[in-house]
């Protein structure tokens, strides 16, 4: 994933205008970056209404802390960190309700394709697979595999150290392996579920 880390001139001008009290300038920033933020948050929810709410949450949160943006990196980079944290909080809130998608209906991985419909199906499957994990594990695997971020970028997005990211990714993969094993051997199902919940507590 390539990304520009240099501050964009339009963004810089609009941010200065917002800080001087020009409300319309913030609407321009939202319009410029909302697709990118929706792309990131699409990894966190597949529901369009929830997606819109989360994208709006990101921009409201960014507005309230806009004075803290120092303009050293790209605004898109700064706001994507906020998006990751908003998405993670959403998972944690949802996790308290313990809504699970049964893995029994998982059909196995789809091979790489250029067909958007097939890609959407692969995205749905990946979402469902990662949904089996607690939010912390899910976050690290989503950012590393789905978003294709490097260890250092994941550390930046999550606020963890790089070694913490590696340890968390290792644990997450281990939990996922256990979950997948239950598909091959259903008798392991309850043990795997207990292990995942035990590791989380």
């Amino acid at each position: 994933m390539t990304e520009c880390f240099e501050p964009n001139e339009h963004d810089r001008r609009d941010i200065e205008a917002v800080l001087s009290g020009d409300g319309d300038a913030y609407a321009r920033l939202v319009e410029r970056h909302q697709s990118m933020i929706a792309g990131r948050l699409w990894r966190f929810t597949r529901d369009k209404r929830q997606l819109e709410e989360l994208v709006a949450d990101v921009f409201v949160e960014a507005y309230t802390s806009l004075a803290n943006y120092r303009g050293e990196g790209a605004f898109s980079h700064w706001i994507s960190v906020i998006a990751t944290r908003v998405g993670y909080r959403f998972w944690k809130r949802r996790d308290r309700l313990r809504i699970e998608t049964p893995l029994e209906s998982w059909d196995g991985p789809i091979p790489p394709t250029n067909d958007p419909l097939e890609a959407a199906e692969a995205g749905r499957q990946l979402h469902k697979l990662l949904d089996q994990l607690p939010p912390r594990d899910r976050l690290v695997l989503t950012l590393m595999y789905w978003e294709g971020l490097s260890i250092s970028r994941v550390a930046e997005e999550t606020g963890w150290s790089e070694s913490m990211v590696k340890v968390q990714a290792h644990r997450a993969r281990k939990k996922l392996r256990r979950r997948l094993e239950t598909l091959e051997n259903p008798s392991k199902k309850s043990a795997a579920r207990d292990n995942i919940q035990g590791d989380e507590s």
Binding site: G23, Q34, F59, I110, P112, A120, L126, W146, L180
Partner: protein, 84 residues
């Protein structure tokens, strides 16, 4: 197939999976303007309450001063009347 391979395969296949289009500019602007309007309302309420309190204090002070003036006249008048 191990879990890492499955993740990589699915992630590669899902590269073209994009979100539906969203337009939240209106929602965001309404949400960030609401607290500002509320803050303005609170400011005006505070200013109005302060003005009413100041008027009340001024009226009360004037009332007390007038009473004192009347009392002084009540004392002075008989004294003045007794003078030759």
């Amino acid at each position: 197939m191990n879990e890492q391979r499955i993740l990589q395969t699915l992630a590669t296949a899902a590269q073209g999976d994009g979100p539906p289009s969203v337009d939240v500019a209106g929602i965001v602007m309404r949400r960030i303007q609401k607290p500002a309007r509320r803050a303005n309302f609170l400011l005006w309420t505070y200013a109005a309450a302060t003005a009413v309190a100041a008027c009340f204090v001024a009226a009360w002070t004037a009332h007390v001063l007038l009473l004192e003036e009347n009392a002084a006249l009540d004392i002075i008048a008989p004294v003045m009347g007794a003078l030759p």
